[in-house]
Amino acid sequence: MISILDASLPIIVFVASSILTVPIIKTIRKSAQGIVIAACWFIAVFLAAAVAVANLALKYYSQQAPLPIINLTTASEAYTAFSTAFLIDGVSVYMAVIFTALCAVIFMYTFLSVDFKEKLSERYYAVMLINVGCLIGTAFAGDLLTLFIFWEATTASSSFLMVYNKTIKSIHATLKYLTMIIMASAFIVYGLSIIYALTGTLNFWAAKHALMSLKNKYLLEVAFAFMAAGYSIEAAVVPFHMWLPDAYSAAPAASSAFLSALVDQGSYYVLLRVLVYILSPPTVLPWTLIFAVLSALTMVVGNLLALTEKDVKRLVAYLCIADVGYNLVAITTVTPLGIMGNLFFFFVGGITTALSFMAVGIFNRMGLETLEDFSGIGRKMPLTSLAMLLALFSFIGVPSLAGFIAKYLVFTSAIEANLSWLAVIGVLTSVIQASYLLRLINYMYGRKTAVEAKFKEPYKLLVPIFLLAASIILLGLYPTIILNLLNVIVQQLSLVP
C-alpha cells in the first residue's frame, strides 16, 4: 500500500539535500580532499533519491490489480475535495523516474563543468536539486493548487539557473523570462479561481467530475483560455516562445541542458495532465483545432527561425521550440498512441536536447560559438563532435536513433486522430529541420578550420555525454524497453474517469 510518505519521499530527499548542500560545499571548499567529499555527497544524494523513487515504483507496480490512479490526501474522506492531494499513477511514476535519471546524468556534467570552488556554486547545485524535487512534486500533484505551487517553484527556481553567469545577456534574458512567467502564473491563478467558483473544489477528480456535467460552459471556456495561455507561456508555445532562445542561449550549458531536459518536459506534462485529462477533455470543450493550429505554428516558426540562425547554442534553443511543437501535436490528438508518443518523447527529447546543449557547452568553452567557428571541428574534436552528430541525427529523425521512434509515434497519432494535415506539416517541418541541422554538420565535417590551435577534449565531461548518446542508440534500436511499459500506462490513463 502506498502511503503519502512513499510519494513525498523523493521530494523530501531532493529538498533536504538541497538545503544541506549549501553548508556542506561551503565548509569543504577550502579543504584538500574537497572534490572527493563533494562527489561522494552528490552520489549519496542521488543514491538516496534513486532508492526513494525505486521504492515508490516498486510499491506501485507490486499492487495486486494496479489501480489506475491512487489518490492520497491529507484529510479524512469527507474533506478530500478540499485537501492537498497527491496523485500516483503510471504516468507520474514514469515522470519521476525519468526526471531522476536525467537529472543524475546532467548533474554529473554540472558538477564537472561548474567548479565547486567557484563562489556561489553551492547555491547553483542546491537550486538544481530543489528544482528536481519540485518537478517531481508537480508530477505527483493531485489537485490544481498543489500542482500550481510546485510548478511555480520549479519555474521560479529555473530563473536562478539561467542568471548564474551574471552577464548582461543572461540578466536580460532572465528578466524577460520572469516577466513572462509572472504573467503566466497570474493567468493560471485567475483560471484556477474560476474553476473553484464553478466546482467548489480544486481536487483533480472532484473538479473533473463537476466539469463533465457542467450545464453552462461559458465560464469554463474563459478559465480554459486563461489556463491554456498560462501553461503555454511556460511551455514556450508559439506565439509565447520569445523568452526561450534568449534564456537558453545566455544560461550556462549545464543550465540549458537541465532546463531543456527537465523543466521543458515538465511543462508538457502539465499541459497534458491539466488541460487534456483533468480540466477539459475535448469531449467537454472542442479545443482540438486551436491546439492543432498552435502546434503547427510552433513547428513552423521554431524551425524557420532556426534556419537563419548563426549562433549554434541559439540554434539548439530553437530546436527546443520545434520539439514543443512536436509534443503539442501528440497532446492535441488525445489518442492512446499520441500520449504514448508524448511520454516517449519526454524522455527522448530530454536526452537529445540535454546532449546537444552539453556538447555545445564543451565547444563554447573552446570559444567556438557561431557556425563559422564550428568549421572543421569534426576532425579536431572527434569525440564531442560524434556525440553532437548523434543528437543532431536523432533530431532529424533518422531511424536507429531514438528521435525517430518519437517522431513516428507523434505523426502516426496525428493520422489516427484525423489530423493528417498536421502530420504532413509535421514531416515537412522535419525536412526543414534536416536542412539546417545538415548545414551545421556540413560546417562541422565539410569545412576546413580557420584556427590552427589544438583543442584538448575534456574527457571527464564526455562521460555523461556518452551515457546519453548510448541511450539514444539503445532506445532507437530497441524502444520496446520503454514502449511496453508505456503501453500499459496509456491504457490506464484512458480509464481515468
Binding site: 531511424p399 513516428y408 493528417s420 514531416v427 515537412l428 522535419s430 534536416a434 520496446t480
Partner: protein, 488 residues
C-alpha cells in the same frame, strides 16, 4: 540465417574500423570477405525458396510489439537477386577502393562507413516489415552522405547535402504512408497489410501516392532527379557505382514491392489504378528521354553516366507501369540486376580513367584503348550493355520489358505511342554509349605515358565484366529466381 548475416555484417564494422587504422588494405579485404560470407549465407536459403510452396524463406524475431513490428527478415526470388547483386557490387567496390582510395586520408572511417552501408543496402531488400524497411532505408542514406561528403570531388558536401535533403524529403512521405498503413491494418507487415488495404481502397489511394512519390525521389524520376547528377558524379567512384547500381534500384524495388505489390491491389480494378499506371508510364518515358538527351550532350565523364542512370530508371518505371504483365515485371526486375552490374562496372571504369588521367572532360581524352586495355575492354562491354546491345546483360531485360509492352498494346492503345517513344529512347542510349566509347577509348591519344590501373582495380572490374557477359548469355539463374515470385 538472415539474422546471422546481419549480425555478421554489424559486428565487422568496429573490426574494420580498428583494422583500418593499422592497414586500410586489410580493412578493404575484410569488407570484401564479409560480403562473400553474406552471399554464402544467402545461398543457404536457396533450397527453401526453390522448393517451398510459396517460394519464400522467412524468419521473424521479437522486436517492437507495441508498434506491431517484429524483426521480420524474408527472401524470395526478387529480394534474393537484389541482395546478391548488392553484395557483389560492394565486394567489387571494396576491392576497387584499395588502389583507388590509396592516397586518401582517414580510410578507416571510409571502410567502416562502407560496411555500415552494406547493412542498410542489403536490409532494404530482405525485410517484409515496413518499420525495419524504413530503418534500413534511412541507414543507406547516412553512410552514403558521409562517404560522398568526406571523400568526394569538387564541392562534395554540397552534393551530399542535396542528396540527403532530397531523399530524406522523399522518405518522410514514405513514413506518412507507413503511419497510415499502421492505422488501417494495425500491422506493419507488407503481406498482412495487403489484405487489410483491400478493404479500404479510398485510403489506399493516398497511401499509394505517398509511397510512390517518396520512392520516386530515391529513384530519381525526372521532376525530382536534381540530386542525382551531383551526388553520383561527385562521389568517389566505388561509391558512385553503389549509388547508381543499387541505391536507386532500391527505390525501384520499393515501388515494385510496396507501392505495387502491397498497396496497388486495393485499387487495381478502379479507374484510378489505370490512371496511376499511365502516370508511371509517362514519367518513365520523360525520364528516359531527358536522361538520354542530357547524356548525349554532357562532356563530364561521370555526369554522362549519372544521366544515363536517370534514363535507365525511366525504363524501369516504364516496365513497372506494365504491372499486370508478367514478362514486363520479370524484365524490370532483371533490369535492376543487369543495370546494377553494368552501371556499377561503368562507374568503376570511369573512376579508373579519371584516376590515371586526372581529368574529367571526355573531349580531352582519347586513344586509351591501347594504353589501358583491360579498363577499355570492361568499359566498352559495360557501355554496350547499357546501350542494350546483345549479348550483354541489359539486352535481355530491355527485351523482356518490350515484350510486356507489346502485350499491353493489345489491350490499351495508350501504350502504342509510349512504347514507340521508348524504342526511340533506346536508340538515344546507343548514341550516348557510342559517343562515350569513341571519345574516351578511340581516336588520337592525347596523353603520354598512361598505364593501366593496378591489379586490385583490374580484378574488381574483371569480376563485374564477366558477370555482365554471363548475365547476357545465361540469364537463366536470375530469371528463374525472379519468375518464382508472383506479384499479380
Amino acid at each position: 540465417m538472415l539474422l546471422s548475416m546481419l549480425i555478421l555484417s554489424a559486428s565487422t564494422i568496429p573490426i574494420v574500423y580498428f583494422l583500418g587504422k593499422k592497414s586500410p588494405k586489410a580493412a578493404a579485404y575484410l569488407v570484401a570477405l564479409t560480403c562473400m560470407c553474406d552471399i554464402a549465407l544467402l545461398f543457404t536459403t536457396l533450397p527453401s525458396i526453390l522448393n517451398d510452396a510459396n517460394h519464400i524463406y522467412m524468419e521473424s524475431y521479437y522486436w517492437i510489439p507495441v508498434l506491431r513490428s517484429s524483426f521480420t527478415l524474408f527472401v524470395d526470388g526478387v529480394s534474393l537477386s537484389m541482395a546478391i547483386v548488392t553484395l557483389v557490387l560492394i565486394f567489387a567496390s571494396s576491392l576497387f577502393s584499395i588502389s583507388y582510395m590509396h592516397e586518401k586520408k582517414s580510410l578507416a572511417e571510409y571502410y567502416a562507413l562502407l560496411a555500415l552501408l552494406s547493412i542498410g543496402l542489403v536490409g532494404v531488400f530482405i525485410t517484409s516489415n515496413l518499420m525495419l524497411f524504413y530503418f534500413c532505408w534511412e541507414l543507406m542514406l547516412v553512410p552514403a552522405y558521409f562517404i560522398i561528403g568526406g571523400w568526394g570531388y569538387r564541392e562534395p558536401y554540397r552534393a551530399a547535402f542535396k542528396f540527403f535533403i532530397f531523399t530524406h524529403a522523399g522518405a518522410v512521405f514514405v513514413l506518412l504512408g507507413i503511419g497510415a498503413i499502421f492505422m488501417v491494418s494495425g500491422d506493419l507487415d507488407i503481406f498482412t497489410a495487403k489484405l487489410a488495404l483491400m478493404a479500404n481502397p479510398d485510403l489506399a489511394r493516398w497511401i499509394l501516392l505517398s509511397f510512390t512519390a517518396g520512392f520516386a525521389v530515391k529513384m530519381a524520376v525526372v521532376p525530382v532527379h536534381m540530386w542525382l547528377p551531383d551526388a553520383h558524379s561527385e562521389a568517389p567512384a566505388p561509391m558512385s557505382a553503389l549509388l547508381s547500381g543499387v541505391v536507386i534500384s532500391a527505390g525501384a524495388y520499393a515501388i515494385l514491392r510496396i507501392s505495387l505489390g502491397t498497396v496497388f491491389p486495393a485499387v487495381i480494378a478502379t479507374n484510378f489504378g489505370t490512371q496511376f499506371l499511365h502516370a508511371l508510364t509517362f514519367f518513365g518515358m520523360i525520364s528516359a528521354f531527358f536522361g538520354a538527351l542530357i547524356a548525349l550532350v554532357e562532356s563530364d565523364i561521370k555526369r554522362i553516366i549519372a544521366y544515363s542512370s536517370i534514363a535507365h530508371m525511366g525504363y524501369v518505371l516504364f516496365g513497372l507501369s506494365l504491372f499486370p504483365y508478367n514478362e514486363a515485371i520479370t524484365g524490370t526486375t532483371f533490369h535492376l540486376v543487369s543495370h546494377a552490374v553494368s552501371k556499377g562496372l561503368l562507374f568503376l571504369t570511369a573512376g579508373a580513367v579519371m584516376k590515371q588521367l586526372e581529368i574529367r572532360d571526355i573531349r580531352q581524352m582519347g586513344g586509351l584503348a591501347g594504353q589501358m586495355p583491360i579498363t577499355a575492354t570492361s568499359s566498352i562491354i559495360a557501355a554496350l550493355s547499357i546501350a542494350g546491345i546483345p549479348p550483354f546483360a541489359c539486352f535481355i531485360s530491355e527485351f523482356l520489358i518490350f515484350v510486356g509492352a507489346f502485350r499491353a498494346i493489345a489491350n490499351d492503345s495508350f501504350y502504342t505511342v509510349m512504347t514507340a517513344l521508348m524504342l526511340i529512347a533506346t536508340v538515344l542510349s546507343l548514341a550516348y554509349a557510342l559517343r562515350f566509347i569513341g571519345h574516351v577509348f578511340f581516336g588520337q591519344s592525347k596523353h603520354e605515358k598512361i598505364v593501366d590501373v593496378p591489379l586490385s582495380m583490374k580484378l574488381a572490374m574483371g569480376i563485374l565484366t564477366v558477370l555482365v557477359v554471363i548475365l547476357g548469355v545465361w540469364p537463366t539463374f536470375f530469371i528463374h529466381l525472379i519468375t518464382s515470385v508472383t506479384f499479380v
